[in-house]
């Protein structure tokens, strides 16, 4: 064999060195045999090498073919990248470079979107599991039915997110496949009517099918556990403003001299303050089974606090919505309370006929107060996303992001009303 042929073969081999070994061997064998046959039939090695083109050009053509084959059978990001890289090596006219660039940007954008979506849902799935496990670990062990229900819900949600992840990933791959097919077409290779030999696809699609099956089963199992635990019904009741079952009536009575200051705080129960008969301050509380309350009388302060009993997972979210259980507070007629503070996150607050220094605050609940007349009380109402009504007429002034309604009666008693998202209704001022 001539030295020139030898060095050509060596150059070709080095130009192909990152390809799989069997592909290099096949190409090198073909060209070695080809050149030997050419020499044997009496051709001048110089002439034949001139005619056949540079090793670089030949390597580029082989590379293009190989990368398209590989991206077809395994349309991943890396194989797609090598198709793009090689396609720019092969084409030369400015127009096709421009066209291919535009196409690459377009199709790249689409599949990156799907891949990013898949990554987000995958992350969401992991975070769901973490949040659920954290929540379950913080629940009291006696509510194990709810704990298991919560874990079931987490299983369901994270499995569904995993299914979405697989789906987005597959669609992304489909776009790569489509894009490779288009590039192949743009470069004007003849279309393959037969599918290319599947090397890794069979095993991979088997794995995908198994994963889809497992996640489907898991999500269904999670759904069953969640449903059987009774949690969905509880959430359903709350979010549809239905009165919960299993209410325990709790009532407390206090002497009036114990209570100069009354402080009431609920998560999402309704609070009703009104004048009562008798000579004691009475609290009547409808306690639902997922809530707990503490009662404290310190000096001359009465303090009522409603909180989660640990039975309902993700209580913080639930408490944004009202519960139809009520806390009624009756204050004897003629008794003077120095100050009343009321705070509720999701529940509504109703006050009728009381004139005290009051501070009422809610996050999502509405506030309704019935005031005997203006002369004896200053009113200060403020809401961010709700409206203020005085005797069923819209009132108040919008300043910046909130609406304010202020009545200054020159009295020493002030009613402060504040709701972030609920409406404020004030009735019968005069």
């Amino acid at each position: 064999m001539s030295d020139k042929i030898d060095s050509f073969i060596m150059e070709l081999e080095s130009k192909l060195k990152d390809l799989p070994k069997d592909e290099i061997d096949e190409a090198v064998c073909y060209y070695r045999e080809y050149l030997n046959d050419a020499e044997d039939s009496g051709e001048d090695p110089d002439v034949i090498l001139q005619r056949i083109g540079t090793a670089e050009k030949i390597a580029a053509a082989i590379r293009m073919e190989t990368s398209i084959d590989r991206a077809r059978s395994d349309p991943g990001v890396r194989n797609y990248g090598s198709v793009l890289k090689n396609s720019f090596r092969v084409i030369t006219t400015p127009f096709s470079i421009l066209f291919l660039s535009m196409f690459v940007i377009l199709s790249g954008g689409i599949f990156i979107t799907f891949y990013a979506g898949a990554f987000c849902t995958f992350l969401g799935s992991i975070l769901t599991i973490a949040a659920v496990v954290y929540e379950a670990a913080n629940m009291p062990g006696e509510y194990f039915i709810e704990i298991i229900g919560l874990l079931g819900a987490g299983l369901m949600l994270s499995s569904v997110l995993m299914l979405v992840t697989i789906c987005l990933y597959k669609v992304g791959r489909l776009f790569i496949k489509l894009s490779v097919w288009m590039i192949d077409k743009i470069l004007n290779k003849q279309q393959q009517k037969e599918p290319s030999p599947k090397r890794t696809t069979a095993a991979k699609s088997g794995r995908t099918r198994a994963a889809v099956l497992i996640f489907s089963i898991l999500s269904f199992a999670g759904f069953l556990i969640f449903a059987v635990s009774g949690l969905p019904m509880r959430y359903f009741n709350i979010f549809n403003s239905m009165k919960p079952q299993n209410i325990e009536l709790v009532s407390y009575e206090f002497d009036i001299d114990q209570a100069d200051v009354i402080s009431v705080e609920t998560a999402h129960s309704i609070i009703r303050l009104s004048e009562g008969s008798g000579d004691k301050i009475r609290f009547v509380y409808e306690k639902s089974d997922w809530l707990d309350c503490t009662f404290a009388a310190e000096g001359n302060t009465l303090h009522f606090h409603e909180k989660s009993g640990g039975r309902l997972p993700f209580f913080e979210l639930v408490s944004m919505h009202e519960s139809l259980t009520e806390l009624k507070v009756y204050i004897p007629k003629g008794h003077n309370v120095e100050r009343i503070t009321v705070e509720s996150k999701g529940g509504h607050v109703f006050v009728s006929g009381l004139i005290f220094n009051m501070q009422i605050e809610t996050m999502n609940g509405s506030i309704e107060v019935n005031l005997p007349d203006t002369g004896r009380v200053n009113v200060n109402a403020e809401t961010s996303n709700g409206s203020i009504y005085v005797n069923n007429m819209q009132a108040g002034q919008k300043t910046g992001k909130k609406t304010e309604y202020i009545v200054t009666a020159g009295s020493e008693k002030t009613v402060n009303l504040k709701s972030a998202n609920g409406d404020i209704r004030i009735k019968r001022l005069n």
């Binding site: 096949e26 064998c29 060209y31 045999e33 050419a38 039939s41 056949i52 083109g53 053509a61 003849q190």
Partner: protein
């Protein structure tokens, strides 16, 4: 002739040569170059692709002390070749219709 048109004809050309007899890379290329004016390096990817599609197969035979790879058309390749032939015949009829009509005017 247009380079892309020629590329399309390479497959059918290769199959038609192999239908007559088994042959090896160099001889096949020479024969094809006698029919179509194509570049010498264009044939290797075509052969590889046809082989992966199962239209042809290879075997090695000894020739003057070294191994030579021979290409042989498969049954599938023969079927595909006759399909291609029919397609080209239809194309030829169509072209004759167009050009013939042109001449009549």
């Amino acid at each position: 002739m247009d380079a892309q048109m020629k590329k399309g004809l390479l497959d059918v050309c290769v199959l038609s040569v192999l239908k007559k007899e088994d042959t090896y890379g160099y001889k096949l290329t020479q024969e094809i170059m006698g029919i179509l004016d194509t570049s010498e390096s264009a044939l290797y990817p075509v052969l590889r692709r046809l082989e992966s599609q199962g239209l042809l197969e290879t075997y090695s035979a000894e020739y003057s002390g070294r191994l030579r790879k021979y290409y042989r058309i498969t049954a599938k390749g023969i079927t595909r070749f006759s399909e291609m032939k029919n397609e080209l015949k239809q194309l030829k009829d169509l072209i004759e219709q167009i050009i013939g009509g042109d001449r009549d005017e």
